[in-house]
């Protein structure tokens, strides 16, 4: 980190680190005890650690003068490392909680490890830790390459990545200590939420400043997707997390929303977290890495633009399909359902555009596991968006709601689509940033691919079966009007599916561990920088 910063930038970094340490100290001292105090000490330790690193490097050699004629890839490398660390944490916790569903007696007698506390560690670790770091890291890469410009400054990318990871650590450690505002995918408490807003605004400003410096007349569609991700996530995060702290010196708070309005705001947030966190940004990734890796032009420029505006417009309406047959008014459910159906076409247009782009490169899909990751991602994107629209139809939802079908649907999206495109992007970026053409082990990539695909299929198919079985058992009545099954019978029927799900998740985790090892070896054997360069005015010789 420090070698790529000028001495002046190191001074700014030192100042920010000291401010972070002071903020942590104030938090810890004001709260006195409890989760918020512990989180204060974490910020204090991080700030002091960064201050020592930056302070110790103040008198070291100045950053190389030619740095401005290169892309700034050091933050991307750090972000990729964090992506892989969070992947292993989040997936390991996921496999563990999946195992607990099959083997609940295995829960240790330690409250921090109860299912209810570990489940949000899995979701946050994967969505925000793994997905978020992957999005930020690749967005810096894609933004610079498609703008042919270096990042607008060198301090704020670090502030974004390190600050964002502090949020993730605060969130998951808070859950384990029992601190949660009980909102799905938004469990972190108020001070962590405010911290994330600061980080996110910094990210947005950095993105816009770099775009403003672009050397290309047009903004590539990947950047539109990344921008939608950044902007809309900020809006969703702020509105859903509006809360009144019980007091400024403790973690607890009350949401300002109540009743069915709270449910609607929550699922407006929750579904658009799927849309703008788990879809929009990753479509940006797909639209960049797929043509780069396959060496093919995007099949249809028009389709990419229409899909973008279609997805952005329709997605924001569909959250109410999470609340079918609830206290939410019927009319709001109808709107959620119909917009979910209309959303299908823009979604499939993106998936189709990606797959058609591979025309003329199918031999590469056959031979190159990295490109195969992206192809499978596009297929699963099409599959899970179709499934999503289908499950949003009210009568279908009456079968699937509250069952493991929903869990299967989510994982066909997150394992099959999101994680696959991330791995495709990682296997493209990591060698490039290490000055190489290939990963350290091509065999390991191949192993990872097949572990990931088989893990995903086992997981998703077992959850489809589980969910449909549950839905049918719950609604089965005998001729005399009595229920055919008790609830606990439907739980017992889940045992084989829950075991299979654990095995599928375990295979996927094994692939991710292989990926992390492969990336580490490749990065350690780095021989230089990425060879591509921004367009800059060359100094006279």
């Amino acid at each position: 980190m420090t070698a790529s910063l000028t001495v002046a930038e190191r001074r700014i970094g030192l100042l920010i680190s000291i401010l972070l340490a002071l903020m942590g100290l104030v938090m810890a001292a004001a709260a006195g005890h409890g989760v918020m105090s512990l989180h204060g000490f974490m910020a204090l330790a991080l700030g002091l650690g960064l201050a020592f690193i930056l302070g110790g490097s103040l008198y070291e050699a100045e950053a190389p003068a030619d740095r401005l004629s290169r892309y700034y890839d050091a933050p991307t490398r750090f972000g990729i490392s964090m992506t892989l660390i969070w992947a292993m944490i989040g997936m390991a916790v996921g496999v563990w909680v999946a195992a607990l569903l099959y083997w609940p007696e295995g829960t240790p007698a330690w409250p921090a490890t109860s299912f209810g506390r570990l489940r949000p560690v899995h979701t946050t670790g994967i969505i925000f830790g793994f997905g978020g770091n992957a999005l930020i890291a690749t967005s810096f890469h894609v933004l610079q390459r498609t703008s042919r410009a270096r990042l607008a400054d060198s301090v704020s990318p670090w502030a974004v990545l390190i600050g964002y990871n502090l949020f993730c650590v605060w969130a998951v450690t808070g859950y384990m200590l029992g601190s949660t505002q009980s909102k799905e995918y938004a469990e972190a408490e108020w001070y962590a939420d405010i911290w994330l807003v600061v980080i996110w605004v910094t990210y947005f400003v950095l993105y816009l400043r770099t775009l403003a410096r672009r050397n290309e007349p047009h903004i590539y569609v990947a950047n539109w997707y990344y921008l939608a991700f950044i902007l809309v996530v900020a809006m969703l995060h702020i509105v859903n997390n509006l809360a009144l702290p019980v007091q400024w010196t403790s973690a607890e708070s009350f949401p300002i929303w109540a009743g069915v309005q709270d449910a609607m705001v929550q699922w407006w947030y929750g579904h658009n977290a799927v849309a703008f966190f788990l879809t929009s940004g990753f479509l940006g990734m797909l639209y960049y890495f797929l043509p780069v890796r396959s060496g093919r032009p995007i099949w249809s420029y028009r389709l990419s633009i229409v899909s973008f505006w279609g997805i952005v417009f329709f997605y924001i309406w569909v959250g109410s399909h999470h609340l079918h047959y609830t206290a939410l008014p019927f009319w709001a459910q109808t709107l959620g359902m119909t917009f979910s159906i209309m959303l299908l076409v823009p979604s499939w247009a993106s998936a189709g555009n990606a797959i058609a782009t591979l025309n003329g490169a199918w031999h590469k899909v056959r031979d190159d596991a990295t490109l195969r990751f992206m192809f499978v991602a596009a297929v699963f994107y099409g599959l899970s968006t179709f499934e999503g629209s289908f499950l949003a139809i009210r009568p279908v939802n009456s079968l699937s709601h509250y069952t493991d079908w929903t869990v299967g649907h989510v994982h066909s999206g997150t394992l099959g689509w999101v994680a696959m495109i991330v791995f495709g992007a990682i296997y493209t970026i990591v060698p490039q940033l290490s000055g190489k053409t290939d990963m350290a082990s091509a065999t390991a990539v191949e192993w990872h691919f097949w572990l990931a695909v088989s893990g995903t299929l086992i997981y998703v198919i077992s959850m489809w079966n589980a969910g449909i079985t549950q839905g049918l058992m719950w609604r089965a009545y005998e001729e005399n009007g009595a229920l055919s099954y008790s609830f606990v019978e439907s739980v017992e029927a889940m045992a084989p599916y829950y075991l299979l799900r654990t095995i599928g998740g375990g295979l996927f985790l094994a692939g991710a561990v292989i990926c992390a090892w492969n990336c580490r070896v490749t990065m350690r054997r780095a021989v230089g920088h990425a060879t591509d360069r921004p367009l800059v005015a060359q100094p006279a010789e």
Binding site: T146, P217, T334, M342
Partner: protein, 303 residues
């Protein structure tokens, strides 16, 4: 920065005609955009996408016409079908209730002997009762009523408050140690004031009670008579009127080994069985009563 949109000046364009490179695979020309090597084809908008858009929009418009859909200030468009999800839910519930009514109504009477002797009714009702039991009672008493630590078994014909259907129904209605005004009430007091060595000898005595190898004239036996027999009976046979368990049979709630009895003596016990009146209908409670009574009967005579 070259901000031109003139096709002739775009990268890859012929500077005279403005025409761009043709992709040899698809046969389409490119848009002329180039982002560090990424290009795009100028493919015409596929017709199938337009048709798909039309189909999904037609579906949406039809749904908006038929169903409640758009908010209009204080109200909403009700839709031609005039559906109301609250009414639909009540209607669906009513249909199921009607299906059950021809046999369920029989359980509105608490004539348990008459109910139990009707074999056709029992064949119809007991499968339903087992699901009602599994959904409401199994969490504590076990899926088959086998009980567990702290929760009495219902299958062994050893009862705290009698196995008569009338008494079972009373327990179901009002619970044990609940806030219901007519609740059954039973408390095993703590004997923490008692000397530890006396408690230990008493615990050993109680643990030995079931196999009959005890001497009521021994110091521990006298302790039992003075402290325990008022509830648990002279010989430890229990008292159904006050919910005091028998200490002479093999069925246990918390356990009758020395360590568990020591814990019971030290801290006392006051188990709770919820009152179900507010949650289940009278007919459902009577149905469960018959089911639970038969669970005990199936086990044969008390040991």
């Amino acid at each position: 920065m070259s901000n031109t949109t003139d096709p002739k000046e775009l990268p890859g364009a012929d500077p005279k005609t403005g025409e761009r490179a043709i992709d040899p695979v698809s046969g389409y020309d490119t848009t002329g955009h180039d982002w560090g090597g990424i290009t795009e084809l100028n493919t015409a908008f596929p017709k199938i996408v337009i048709w798909a858009l039309i189909v999904t929009h037609v579906y949406a418009v039809i749904a908006w016409i038929l169903l409640p859909a758009w908010p209009t200030g204080n109200s909403y468009t009700p839709g031609l079908l005039g559906l109301d999800q609250g009414e639909q839910a009540i209607e669906g519930y009513q249909n199921l209730t009607d299906n059950r009514q021809n046999w369920m109504s029989r359980f509105e009477s608490a004539e348990f002997d008459a109910l139990q002797s009707d074999d056709a009714l029992m064949a119809l009702a007991m499968p339903a009762a087992s699901r009602l039991f599994a959904d409401n009672c199994a969490a504590c008493h076990g899926t088959n009523g086998e009980g567990g630590p702290g929760f009495p078994a219902l299958t062994d014909n050893a009862w705290l408050w009698s196995g008569d259907p009338e008494e079972i129904a009373l327990t179901l209605h009002h619970g044990i140690n609940t806030e219901d005004p007519d609740t059954r009430y039973a408390e095993m007091p703590a004997f923490d004031w008692m000397d530890r060595s006396e408690r230990a000898s008493l615990a050993q005595f109680v643990a030995d009670l079931p196999d009959g190898s005890v001497d009521f004239e021994s110091p521990a036996g006298i302790l039992f008579t003075e402290n325990c027999s008022s509830c648990h009976g002279e010989a430890g046979e229990g008292g159904l009127e006050i919910g005091a368990p028998s200490l002479t049979d093999t069925s246990v709630i918390y356990g009758q080994d020395v360590d568990t009895v020591m814990a019971t003596l030290k801290q006392g016990r006051m188990g709770v069985m919820p009152a179900w009146s507010g949650r289940l209908s009278d007919a459902e409670i009577n149905l469960l009563t018959v089911y639970v009574a038969r669970l005990g009967d199936d086990a044969g005579d008390p040991q």
